[in-house]
Amino acid sequence: MAHAAPSILCRVTLLFLTATLSSCVFHRVEVSPVEPTDKPPLIVESPVKAHLIDGSTVVFPDGVTVLEKEIRGDGQKYDLTLQSSVRVSSIPLEDIAAMESYQTPIREAETVAGSAAAGSGVFIGGVLLFKALFGSCPTTYSLHDGEFVLEAESFSYSIAPSFETRDVDRLGVQPVDDEVRLELRNEALETHYINQLELVEITHQPDQLVFPDPNGRPIVVSEIFSPAVAVDNSRREVTRELSRADGDAWESPDHRLQTVSTDDFRDHLDLEFDVPTNVRETALVLRMRNSLLNTVLLYDVMLQGQGWRALDWMGQDLDGLVAKLRLGYWYRDRMGMSVSVWRDGAYREIEHLPDTGPIAWQDVALTVPVTEPGRLRVRLSFVADNWRIDRVGIAKPLKNGALRTVALTDVLARDGSIVPEASELLRSTDDDYLITRPGEQLTLRFHVGDSELGAKRTYFLAAEGYYIEWMRREWLQTVSPVPFHPSDDALIDALLAWADQRDAYRAKFEATKIPVR
């Protein structure tokens, strides 16, 4: 009993700290330029500084409304020397040389770290939900026989600082002279903020294959077996289409897209595999990438629909945990891919895969239970036409090979010179980011050394960061901007817009890549 009081005190203190920590939020400050414009109205709710042509400065602590010929707000105007000031309620646009708004996006990694100790709720909300959200991303290439081959797209859907996440992609590249060399490109109208890049190396037997699981952990498997039967929701037999990794991918048929409604917007594939009768668990291997439906959802519905308002939405609204959770839960429920296994007379979900991005093919493996003797029935379901599925198969999961991470050795600029600051910025996850702009490229070198005799090595690229989409002129010219609210109506808007242009959209998407050479 003598120890009872301190023990209770400790527990109460721990409980209190846990409750307190679970709501901790870490901030940093971002300053964004606000362009004076003749496309009203722009409402900026964060503090704004207007710098006037005559050298004076006007501070609007509660933000401003940008109208056709002036900005309005409760401001304080300081002269050039800052010696005197007067209150103002409006400033003509023609007097303004520049404006900035100040925002405090949440530093997600620290929020997660602080909150994860207190429980799983915020951790799930902060990381798993937001792994997948829209757009484009940094692309990575390797050189094969003088040709650059697309290897990966990283953190495809981290569209704001608070969505920063770590992404793991399987690479096909092999070392040359003890070195893995990759080219990192910014091919979109985006600014990329890259926090860390590293290789994960798995050493295994030459006849084995390695794929990342949904959490980026390696799964070593043997030979891949195709499905005995694959049928889509439209009753088409698509077994052959899904049996080879050849880029000839399955997609939802036109009529499925034309008939979507808020009550019925999903599609599915049913797969049946023969398995030895004594097998109770196997690995399901998928090779796939997203269609550009997500891009339409982000560009045409979320951003363009909001017009100028999108600046505040990305910079401020998504900063709020409630807004993030609302969007994140909605997005996770609707997008991605549900993997279900037939058990007890129904398909039961065993995994929900996040979206992976529309550019590079992504290989992923997951272990699935075999619930019927000699047979495995799997259903992949998703929003209609959200995926291009190149191959599905099963394989025997094997004991994992030796695994190690390989830090970046150095980074080369376009002219081949070493850029030591860049590799420093990319070696660890911290507050320092390598920032790239459209058209920029860097060469990444990883010294991996010799391999064991008779062994094979497979590499994953682990990348952490986020990107900011550049607002296009046409997005800002929306006549009646409306705030974006996650809803099935918005999804249907995106699906219908996508149905009208999907054949031409990829060609347009490829054609508008920013050249890096």
Partner: protein
Amino acid sequence: MTPFRRTIVFLGALLTSIAGCHFGPQIESLETARRPEGVKVTVHLAGGESKGSPPQGELLDVRRESVLVNIWREPDSGYASPRLVTMIDNRFIDHVDAGLFGRMDPDGRTAEADRARLRRVSRFPQGLAPDLLEELLKAQGQESLAILSE
């Protein structure tokens, strides 16, 4: 502890946890967002260990080849004005430290992006035109622009 006090303590703890805690700067408490001055910077000079305290002051303008800082002088330095508008050439800068707004190394890989970021939090992100510079110098009782060199 009486049941009443226990209830008060419990409610206090509950309210604290609901209210949450914040780390790092928030706009509500960030002076730079609410004041007209440019951000406060410390300019670390190349080989600066041997040159005494690094100059500090208000960041006025960030140019491609230099930064313009309104350097604060010591209160008892004897000068008429407590500030000195000074141009510091990139060649003499190791890095510019702007606190929570980051730093800029003129020769760094991210110099261009860092320069753009610091320019936004300077007093004159639009650039300080010669006539305004002249006016500012006059207002501070400074005959000409100070230029810091080795």
